[in-house]
């Protein structure tokens, strides 16, 4: 597990670039330590750092404390959810449902539990948190034979949480000084590839006062990318090469151990 960092430098830059102003709305600037995650042979998941600065007008200082919620979403995929039932004594996939737009990764990082920061209505309005995610999943579902759509949507959240693809990191945002904050989230080894978005919400008294969005791309690189691309775009050549490699390995082994 590597930690990508360039923090000190960027912190200094943020301080310099965004001096506090006397008037105007509250605003937030944030960035990720990296915008590209390369999935290579040694990829075993990675921690990504996010850092930023909140700019508070002088007038607003000393008021209600501010809170930060960061939501990182992975690419949306069509997902099939299957439920097992006991048939003749064994557990068999029986009913299934399709959800058209399921984020393959969803992490919510906040300084306090989201429920203590804002009302569930406000959270849902901004698409923050697993309740809001579940509600959106239910809207994108099709093909229910039997069973309850809620059970299936909850199952998606539960299964993906179990795979570390959905995470809730309470207390994962740290403040340094009055303006700077940093947060860390983890992309596990089984993370889906594609385009990610990270939304930073600044709350004051339960309302969103500022928002900033940044993006992240995860893709296969090097030999991993070559193999994957070949397997999907030239499957016949890939298959023949796999067989040839095996034949070579086999003849090589036969030759090597014959000499002994």
């Amino acid at each position: 597990m590597r930690v990508l960092s360039l923090i000190g430098l960027v912190f200094a830059g943020l301080l310099f670039a965004y001096p506090p102003t006397a008037t105007g709305a509250e605003s937030v600037e944030a960035d990720l330590a990296t915008h590209h995650v390369a999935v290579k042979t040694d990829f075993a998941g990675v921690k990504v750092l996010m850092f930023g600065a909140v700019e508070t007008p002088v007038a607003a200082r000393g008021q209600a404390p501010r809170d930060i919620i960061i939501v990182i979403r992975g690419p949306e995929e069509k997902l099939r959810v299957r439920r097992k039932d006991r048939v003749a004594g064994i557990w068999v996939n029986s009913d299934s449902a399709t959800f058209d737009a399921v984020p393959g990764y969803y992490a919510i990082v906040s300084n306090l539990p989201a429920g203590e920061i804002a009302s569930s209505y406000t959270l849902r309005e901004h698409g923050i948190g697993f309740n809001s995610l579940r509600a959106n999943l239910i809207l994108s579902s099709t093909g229910f034979s039997t069973g309850n759509v809620r059970d299936y949507a909850s199952a998606i959240v539960r299964v993906l949480k179990n795979d570390d693809l959905y995470q809730e990191i309470i207390g994962g945002v740290g403040f340094s000084g009055t303006r700077l904050f940093r947060a860390e989230f983890e992309l596990p080894a089984n993370v889906p590839l594609g385009d990610y978005s990270a939304d930073v919400f600044i709350f004051r008294a339960g309302e969103v006062v500022a928002k900033h969005t940044t993006s992240l791309r995860i893709e296969k690189r090097g030999i991993e990318r070559f193999i994957y691309t070949l397997a999907h775009q030239q499957p016949l050549i890939y298959g023949i090469l796999s067989v040839l490699a095996a034949v070579l390995a086999g003849t090589g082994a036969a030759a090597a151990f014959r000499k002994k």
């Binding site: 990829f43 299957r82 399709t98 059970d151 089984n190 397997a231 086999g250």
Partner: protein
């Protein structure tokens, strides 16, 4: 140390993969079996999707059967004509099997069918082997002579048409039984990720009544081609062959097999067969129990394979 597997899309510990390859290679060297029926379930237990495990294991078996059949070829233990007839059936069976896997994946039942096939075949083969070795053990203890199994006894097989002469096997039999045996083995190779030696060898000895000297070589000869075909078909139809995983399993397997062969020479045939039978039955029970026990999570999710990932 973790390695990312590009087709399985997850990372596994390098030493775990090499260790599994080595351990199964050791056992296959010791018992003279392919080891696919042990490796595929092990891969599934360690979290590899069953469809990827089956296809990748077929690729690994190509390597182990090539090295095995070269050794057999040098000893002139391959009946090429019989091998080609078996292969005819094997090609048909594997084409059907790969299509079957594709359809089952779309239906979400591939895991179930793989597990059920394992329980069925491992159960039958393991029990037969265990009964046979226990019986031989007691007979040997009582000092009775073994009932000799004579090839050339007449049975219903000899009444079938399309007779062919197999010189090296010293047989004149219908092509239908070997074609059917080949078909079944091809089907199993595609669905279970096994070479099928554990079905083919007994079938050749007891059903086709081939001389034991050519049985192993001929079955390995057929397995090379059937698993090669299965690898290519799974690559084109299902994109489930993980070359990185296969190469690492080959590396572990080749080394393990050499040590296994040395260890195997120190054990008696009957002990070996009983040990192998116990292992086969153990695997059968483990897979069977997993089917029956209520899973902790009833729901499973998968990205829709109909859309091609």
């Amino acid at each position: 140390m973790q390695i990312y597997l590009p087709i399985a899309e997850q990372s596994l510990n390098v030493f775990l993969i090499l260790g599994m390859g080595g351990a199964v290679g050791f056992l296959s060297g010791m018992f003279g079996v392919g080891g696919g029926f042990l490796m595929t379930p092990l891969l599934i237990f360690s979290g590899i999707p069953p469809a990827v495990a089956v296809a990748t294991e077929a690729n690994q078996i190509v390597a182990s059967s090539v090295s095995g059949s070269i050794a057999q070829w040098r000893r002139r233990n391959v009946d090429v004509k019989m091998g080609l007839v078996l292969l005819g059936g094997g090609v048909t069976g594997s084409v059907i099997g790969v299509q079957l896997v594709k359809i089952l994946r779309e239906l979400g039942q591939v895991d179930l069918v793989i597990s059920l096939s394992y329980v069925l075949f491992l159960g039958i083969i393991g029990s037969l082997m265990l009964i046979e070795s226990v019986r031989t053990f007691y007979k040997a203890k009582q000092g009775q002579p073994m009932p000799a199994k004579r090839p050339g006894q007449h049975s219903w097989i000899h009444k079938l048409p399309f007779k062919m002469r197999f010189k090296r096997s010293k047989l004149y039999i219908s092509a239908i039984p070997p074609l059917l045996v080949g078909l079944l083995v091809g089907l199993l190779a595609a669905v279970m990720g096994v070479g099928g030696g554990f079905i083919m060898v007994p079938a050749m000895i007891y059903l086709l009544r081939m001389p034991t000297s050519v049985v192993i070589g001929t079955s390995l000869f057929q397995i090379v081609f059937v698993t090669s075909l299965v690898t290519i078909l799974h690559s084109t139809q299902n994109q489930t062959v993980d070359a990185v995983l296969a190469l690492m399993l080959m590396a572990g397997g080749v080394i393990g097999a050499q040590f296994g062969a040395i260890a195997g020479q120190k054990l008696k045939g009957e002990q070996l067969r009983a040990l192998l039978a116990l292992m086969v039955l153990g695997m059968c029970i483990k897979i069977g129990v997993d089917l029956v026990v209520e899973p902790s999570e009833l729901f499973s999710v998968s990205t829709s394979l109909l859309e091609g990932h």
